[in-house]
């Protein structure tokens, strides 16, 4: 991205500057007009953007359909939670491992990314030979297994605190300031939600930059090559095994970062936050937005996260006014709309709402690709 700025024209600089200002003031505009609930929603949306961008590497770039992606989010969340809450204190005290606790953010975050990445490789390696549906099902299984372990690793030794979850997770502390407290700079009060907003924004931007740079590197090209034609990619000397594992690891590490931030933001994690439906929602963000296309994925994440919040503000009041009774509840409606959207988009616009040129081409190749195949056949028939 930075390279792009260098090459771009003054108008572009201006656009960039305006955009930066918009992003900078957004939480205050939101907070003033809609309340801090919406700032909080922005914060959570940012976490989903990171998640979706991570899954985008696996599904969008490398074409590996992962239905258990939320497991890496969980790994990140638990890493942060366990190292920054009183839960492990009794177990670790006196063992010489107390230094594990309360590490600075700049250590914990890479650690969460690393551990999630290692999980990505562990879960990815047995699935390398599988394709399409089978890969989806196996990753789904892995996702559930991770959740079940988090739910049950409270016995015989209490590691995760099982279904009770981990509570009293410390907020992020940066430059000696705890994010749970408001801070006033130049007369502007930055509350907890605002501080988290800027932190998450920074991380999301970082992940965007990393995504873009990976995409336009030899690694990114190798991912796409594998997605397009694994055999041909092999024949180009690409070590498909390593390159796929790298995709799993990178995607997982983004998930890990996002999960760690989720834990600190919520102050509480429990296994019920990492159910299969979350994986499906994140996948839907990637697919509906536009696989492999960063702006599309971001759009998908924002839309799918915020729509239910908007529905919450709309459906119930509307029903109360119109029929005086709540026949349909927003959650029900949200899921119904979500399901219909998945079907509808796949049928009508399978490349997603905001696809890359590339993807658009791919999904509209029915006719001419069939033709090409047939043509080859003809060439040899």
């Amino acid at each position: 991205m930075l390279a792009n700025i260098k090459q771009s024209k003054p108008a572009a600089y201006a656009g960039m500057a305006i955009f930066a200002v918009v992003l900078a003031v957004l939480p205050f505009v939101m907070g003033a007009t809609l309340g801090n609930t919406w700032v909080r929603n922005l914060d959570l949306a940012m976490l989903y953007i990171m998640l979706a961008l991570g899954l985008n590497i696996v599904v969008g770039y490398a074409g590996l359909l992962d239905l258990g992606y939320i497991a890496f989010y969980a790994v990140g969340a638990y890493v942060y939670a366990l190292l920054n809450s009183p839960h492990l204190v009794p177990m670790l005290s006196g063992t010489g491992f107390e230094w594990l606790l309360h590490m600075p953010l700049l250590v914990v975050l890479p650690l969460a990314a690393l551990l999630a990445g290692i999980f990505g490789v562990l879960l990815g390696s047995p699935t390398l030979k599988l394709r399409g549906d089978y890969l989806a099902i196996v990753t789904l299984g892995f996702g559930e297994i991770v959740r079940l372990f988090m739910n049950n690793l409270d016995r015989p030794i209490n590691i995760t605190n099982g279904p009770q979850g981990v509570n009293l997770i410390e907020p992020v502390s940066l430059f000696g300031h705890k994010f749970s407290q408001a801070i006033t700079v130049f007369g502007i009060e930055f509350r907890s939600v605002h501080l988290y907003y800027y932190l998450f924004l920074a991380l999301a931007l970082l992940i965007i930059v990393v995504s873009i740079r990976l995409q336009s590197s030899r690694i990114g090209r190798a991912w796409v090559a594998i997605r397009e034609d694994e055999i041909a990619a092999q024949a180009m000397g690409i070590n498909t095994r390593n390159v796929k594992l790298l995709a799993f690891a990178m995607g997982a590490s983004f998930g890990g970062v996002s999960g760690a931030m989720f834990a600190s933001f919520q102050g509480f994690v429990s296994p019920e936050s990492f159910i299969l439906m979350e994986s499906i929602v994140v996948l839907a963000m990637v697919v509906l937005g536009g696989m492999g296309h960063i702006p599309g994925v971001i759009l998908g994440a924002v839309l799918l996260f915020l729509t239910p919040e908007v529905l919450r503000d709309v459906v119930n009041p509307l029903q109360d006014k119109l029929i005086g009774e709540r026949l349909v509840n927003p959650e029900n409606l949200r899921m119904l709309l979500f399901g219909i959207a998945l079907i509808f988009v796949m049928l009508v616009r399978p490349e997603g709402l905001w696809p890359s040129k590339q993807r658009k081409a791919e999904f509209h190749e029915d006719d001419d690709l069939k033709a090409k195949d047939a043509e080859k056949e003809a060439a040899h028939g």
Binding site: A225, I231, A233, M236, I238, D368, K376, E377, A379, H380
Partner: protein, 261 residues
């Protein structure tokens, strides 16, 4: 590398067997390809040419036999190792990365000769940038070399059939091969295109790349190859200069068909 005598063996296989279930697709195949030559492989449909090709490029693991390239043992090695050793290929049914541009396709071909890792990709250190620039430049010049530079920005699948064939060759050349294996590059081409292709292959050979060629167009093969091997039913039934092969009765029988009487 430049002054090595013609006749130096580049690739050598012997006693290669490959079975699929009950089908004995290759039995006891041996051949050697010399540096700098265009070596042809012909045979009727189903004779095992493509199977042999896949064995030589690592896509299939042979059941038994010997396979060396530049003296390196490549028996049962993975495709990426084979490519790294210097063998590149094209496919009978063109296998391009459809939804990448022509240029990107060729850039993928540079993968095996470049080293940038994730850190390099993310931080874009000078070394990585230089490497990336090199990839770009080399890919452009290869597109130029095969004569499709003006299509560099188009999706591979939108190129014409002939250009797709050329692109596949450019992509293979991007891996810096010493041996370029082409699987029916002229299939589906009209005479003009076939003629251009012939010139391209001669150019590639003159630039020092040895070529292994499968082709149905016997006419093309006779005019182009230095030596030809003929496969039938998974066995090599003849080998030699085109003139010999053409007059070999077993070859005639294999091609024109055994007389029913």
């Amino acid at each position: 590398m430049a002054n090595q005598a013609n006749g130096e063996v580049l690739l050598e296989i012997s006693g290669i067997h490959k079975r699929f279930g009950g089908l004995h697709a290759l039995s006891d195949v041996a051949l050697s390809i010399n540096k700098g030559e265009i070596y042809g492989l012909i045979g009727p449909n189903g004779a095992g040419k493509t199977t042999l090709f896949n064995v030589l490029t690592g896509l299939y693991q042979p059941d038994e036999g010997k396979f060396t390239f530049k003296g390196i043992d490549l028996f049962r090695k993975k495709p990426n190792v084979v490519v790294e050793s210097g063998i590149a290929r094209t496919f009978q049914n063109i296998r391009l990365f459809h939804n990448m541009t022509a240029l990107e396709n060729v850039m993928v071909g540079r993968h095996v000769r470049t080293r940038a890792n994730v850190l390099g990709a993310v931080f874009r250190d000078p070394k990585t940038r230089a490497e990336e620039a090199g990839i770009h430049e080399r890919a452009q010049s290869l597109l130029d070399y095969v004569g499709i530079r003006k299509h560099g920005g188009e999706f591979a699948k939108n190129l014409s059939y002939g250009d797709q064939r050329r692109l596949e060759i450019a992509r293979a050349l991007a891996t810096d091969p010493q041996l370029l294996a082409l699987d029916e590059p002229a299939a589906g081409m009209n005479p003009k295109e076939t003629d251009d292709l012939k010139k391209l292959m001669e150019k590639i050979r003159n630039d020092g790349v040895t070529i292994l060629l499968i082709e149905h167009d016997v006419k093309l093969m006779m005019g182009l190859c230095d030596r030809i091997a003929v496969l039938d039913y998974g066995k090599k039934i003849a080998e030699g200069v085109p003139e010999e092969v053409k007059n070999n009765p077993r070859v005639i029988e294999a091609y024109l068909g055994a007389s029913p009487d």
